[in-house]
């Protein structure tokens, strides 16, 4: 039997809004350590990894490892029925083909009970090794969201370059080009507004902006975003989820046509 009780139910709502655009169907894996998800987009270009640790839940009971296949659009519709202040409880019996969402108002004067059918999803699970990244940029998530939004009106790819001067976001398109440079900015009273750059080696990679824009839907989960870059590796865009976990987006880079032609 599975029974999870999350007092801050809005976190789950935000998670669904963050990944719904990218992933259609996904398997939620429940184990003793926590509630997790790993899924690729339909083009197999981007990967999303979610972890909500068991300690973050008010009540976490998982007798046996469980995998629940859900259509994320339908799940989002369910969770939309919960208020932002509601407590969300997720229940599922062993071997059952449904999952139950229970929403309690803060004063316990209203309890809603929603039951959703589960799906049988055959999905590939990728092993993501821990890597040393050449450059790690931490910056306000609202700032990063704004940058991706502004650049996508100019071009459809973004070149992210990290040097000791700072991190530069560049794009070019039919109407022209754009460059945005963010320098390190640590001397602020508010730590959530800081821009911190750790660079072992300069790195420059090209990515599709539409995926970046999808990732930034998770900005509401955290005030800070961490971008990890290494040459010839996917970028990792990570948002922490309160004290209980994270959501990470992995995006494969683009290479020039010439490079591809060579082999």
């Amino acid at each position: 039997m599975l029974e999870l009780r999350l007092v801050q139910g809005s976190l789950l709502k935000k998670v669904l809004e963050a990944i719904r655009e990218l992933v259609t169907d996904a398997n939620f894996d429940c184990s003793g350590t926590g509630f997790s998800l790993q899924a690729m987009d339909s083009s197999h270009v981007a990967l999303v990894a979610l972890l909500l640790r068991a300690e973050g839940f008010e009540h976490y009971r998982c007798d046996r490892n469980l995998s629940m296949g859900m259509n994320l659009n339908n799940m989002a519709k369910m969770l939309r029925c919960a208020g932002n202040e509601d407590i969300i409880t997720i229940k599922a019996d062993d071997g059952s083909d449904t999952v139950t969402f229970m929403f309690e108002s803060p004063k316990q004067d209203k309890i809603a009970d929603f039951e959703m059918k589960l799906m049988d999803i055959d999905s590939e699970h990728l092993g993501i090794p821990d890597s040393e990244y050449q450059a790690i940029v931490r910056m306000p998530s609202a700032e990063f969201m704004r940058i991706c939004k502004d650049l996508s009106s100019i071009g459809d790819t973004v070149v992210i370059s990290v040097t000791k001067e700072g991190v530069k976001f560049s794009t070019s398109g039919e109407i022209g080009s754009a460059n945005i440079v963010c320098r390190q900015n640590q001397t602020i009273d508010k730590p959530e507004e800081a821009t911190i750059i750790e660079m072992q080696e300069p790195v420059s990679l090209t990515f599709a902006l539409r995926y970046m824009n999808s990732f930034t839907k998770a900005s509401s989960l955290s005030e800070q975003v961490t971008i990890s870059l290494s040459s010839e590796l996917p970028v990792v865009v990570e948002y922490k989820i309160a004290e209980m976990g994270y959501i990470r987006f992995y995006l494969a880079p683009k290479i020039d046509d010439d490079e591809e032609m060579k082999p």
């Binding site: 270009v45 071009g155 459809d156 683009k254 046509d257």
Partner: protein, 638 residues
């Protein structure tokens, strides 16, 4: 100068800007004096002075016109200026020098002194022109001599269909009968030509040739500086537009004699005045001083005003500022006033014309309308463009310009290759090699110059004809080739120092020398259609290769997209660069899945055993869905 009074500004709205290919394959008449004058004027203001700039400009511009633009130029030389133009020129000279005209007749010695500079300039100018004529004849260009104005002969050639356009900045080319005038021509830049067509001017302004002549007579021109006093561009235009082309000059004659085409009763002013004054009084009916409508204030108080839409109980509406009465009689009166004003203007204008002595000048009209501008009485000879005499050119330019023979030959090459390609295109037999040395080898690639595409043509040395002499001559040839390159660099530096203005640099690109496996090739830029006509097989082969290259790169891209489509490529247009897949970076964890599946199955087996025989059927179903190897392993465990 041509027609005075900003005549070109009048035509400006009708300019058409044509691209570089506009004149290709067409015959064009060139006013040679204009080239010489414009360049000499530009160069005089600059130090150090270039050596014989008129020769240099004529040489390079002709090469550009002929080889690069594919134009067949016909050069026209001025003849003797008409006595009228000489007088006008003298008057202009006096005006410019600040001398008083009254001083002219008083002292004969003084007049002889003042006449000298004009003659001297003319003599020097004539010498420049003759040098250019010699150069052009060696280049194989047809040169025609006009009786008087070069523009007149250019225009005649255009009018009679011998050439398709005139290149001149003189606006009276249209008065001489030109149909198309290229006013601004720059051979070494992307800017389009400024072209004017008489058809546009006719439809836009309503002016044809004779009407343009009338404009010149009224405003002034090269032949009569002042024209009629009181006539500027607008007045002349308004006046000329009143008449058709066929009658305009006849009417000017009548007016000049004092016969006005308007108001036949002009000679009897008393009789005219009486009827008009009697006409006036009934038209002006009384109007209300309050509202301005017909009637009177008293009547409106009694009966009301129909126009104000009030009856006798109310006052009529007070007249607003700037009020205009709309009643029929007032409309008629206004029209009559307008007509009378127009007639008065016409009378005034005619009086000005009549006051001018010897107007219109019959001699000027004859000059403009003459269709016999060629010196030779036979008529326009058959125009032909012959092969240039390279040796004579080398001698001439070596002597006059101090140019190296190799430099001259090098600059000539684009012209010679163009002529060669034309010969090959026109005749079916195999011609002699280019410059007796080179044969067509291949098309190297497409080249874009000033926004226009060309084929870069590769010429190889013809080895057959030089079999016996090749070993002995080869070192000399290679030495010559390298020396040419050196000379080229030196001359480029020299040219840069001497001529700073970009317009003066009319030089075509120098043909490149390509060394490949010990063979010597020349590279020239040639017109795509001309190469296609001369060597159709080689051109088709080149185009096929181009197509194959594009197809190959396209298929390579399609292979990439096939690989991507396996990963379900994203929708919409593909952005630049190749998108990689996330699965290329992270491996799948299938082993763990199998292990977890195994554990799951074991758990279920335990539950089945607990529940009895009913569960065993479920177990069998589960067994079927599992792969064989796992099933075998499970049985082994049991």
């Amino acid at each position: 100068m041509g027609v005075g009074g900003s005549f070109w500004d009048l035509l400006k709205p009708y300019a058409r800007h044509e691209g570089a290919g506009y004149l290709r394959g067409r015959r064009v008449a060139v006013d040679l004096s204009f080239w010489v004058v414009s360049h000499s004027t530009a160069i005089l203001a600059r130090l150090p002075r270039a050596r014989r700039p008129h020769l240099r400009t004529t040489f390079f511009r002709t090469l550009s016109l002929f080889a690069k633009m594919g134009v067949f130029p016909v050069f026209v030389v001025d003849g003797e200026p008409s006595p009228l133009k000489s007088q006008a020129r003298a008057a202009r000279f006096f005006r410019g020098s600040g001398m008083d005209l009254a001083a002219f007749p008083s002292t004969e010695a003084e007049s002889s002194v003042t006449a000298a500079p004009v003659k001297r300039r003319n003599a020097a100018f004539t010498r420049c022109v003759e040098e250019c004529v010699e150069l052009l004849e060696y280049l194989g260009m047809p040169v025609l001599r006009a009786k008087g104005e070069a523009e007149a002969l250019c225009a005649q050639l255009n009018n009679e269909g011998h050439v398709g356009a005139c290149i001149t900045a003189d606006s009276d080319a249209f008065l001489f009968g030109a149909k198309t005038v290229v006013k601004v021509l720059r051979s070494n830049c992307k800017e389009p030509f400024e072209c004017y067509h008489i058809a546009d001017i006719e439809s836009g302004l309503g002016l044809k040739r004779k009407q343009l002549v009338a404009m010149a007579l009224l405003i002034g021109s090269d032949h009569d500086l002042h024209g009629v006093p009181g006539f500027g561009l607008e007045t002349a235009l308004r006046f000329v537009q009143l008449f058709d082309e066929d009658e305009i000059l006849d009417k000017l004659h009548e007016i000049g004699k004092g016969v006005y085409p308007f108001l036949k009763g002009f000679d009897n002013p008393h009789i005219d005045d009486l009827p008009s004054s009697s006409k006036k009084s009934p038209i002006k009916s009384p109007h209300c001083s309050h509202c301005g409508h017909p009637g009177s204030k008293k009547n409106h108080i009694k009966d009301g005003c129909n126009y104000c839409l009030v009856d006798s109980l109310e006052n009529c509406v007070e007249r607003p500022a700037g009020f205009k009465c709309e009643c029929p009689s007032c409309d008629e009166a206004r029209d009559l006033n307008e007509q009378r004003r127009h007639e008065n203007w016409q009378i005034k204008v005619c009086k000005r014309i009549a006051a001018e002595t010897n107007f219109p000048n019959e001699e000027i009209i004859k000059l403009y309308l003459s269709d016999n501008n060629l010196v030779e009485e036979k008529g326009v000879p058959l125009l032909s463009w012959s092969k240039p005499d390279v040796e004579a050119l080398v001698d001439l330019l070596s002597y006059k310009q101090n140019w190296e023979p190799s430099y001259i030959r090098q600059r000539m090459l684009p012209m010679l290759s163009t002529i060669y390609l034309r010969e090959v295109a026109s005749s079916s037999s195999t011609p002699l090699p280019l410059c007796d040395q080179y044969e067509f080898d291949s098309i190297e690639r497409t080249k874009i110059r000033h926004g226009h595409p060309y084929y870069l043509v590769k010429w190889k040395r013809a080895t057959r004809g030089m079999n016996s002499n090749m070993p002995s001559k080869k070192p000399v040839t290679e030495g010559e080739t390298s020396s040419e390159v050196v000379v080229l660099d030196d001359d480029d530096n020299e040219d840069t120092v001497v001529c700073e203005s970009p317009e003066l640099l009319d030089e075509p690109d120098v043909p490149q020398v390509l060394m490949d496996d010990g063979c010597c090739f020349l590279l020239t830029d040639e017109d795509i259609q001309l190469v296609g006509a001369a060597f159709p097989k080689e051109t088709a082969r080149f185009q096929e290769e181009q197509r194959l290259k594009e197809a190959r790169s396209r298929s390579r891209k399609s292979k990439t997209s096939l690989a991507d489509s396996g990963c379900e490529t994203p929708k919409g247009p593909r952005p630049s660069g190749v998108q990689l897949s996330i699965t290329e970076f992270y491996r799948s964890k299938k082993g763990q899945d199998m292990e977890s599946g195994k554990k799951k199955q074991a758990g279920e087996g335990h539950a089945a055993a607990r529940d009895g025989s009913r569960k065993s059927s479920d177990r069998d179903l589960n067994n079927k869905s599992l792969p064989k190897s796992v099933r075998r392993r499970l049985l082994f465990d049991c």
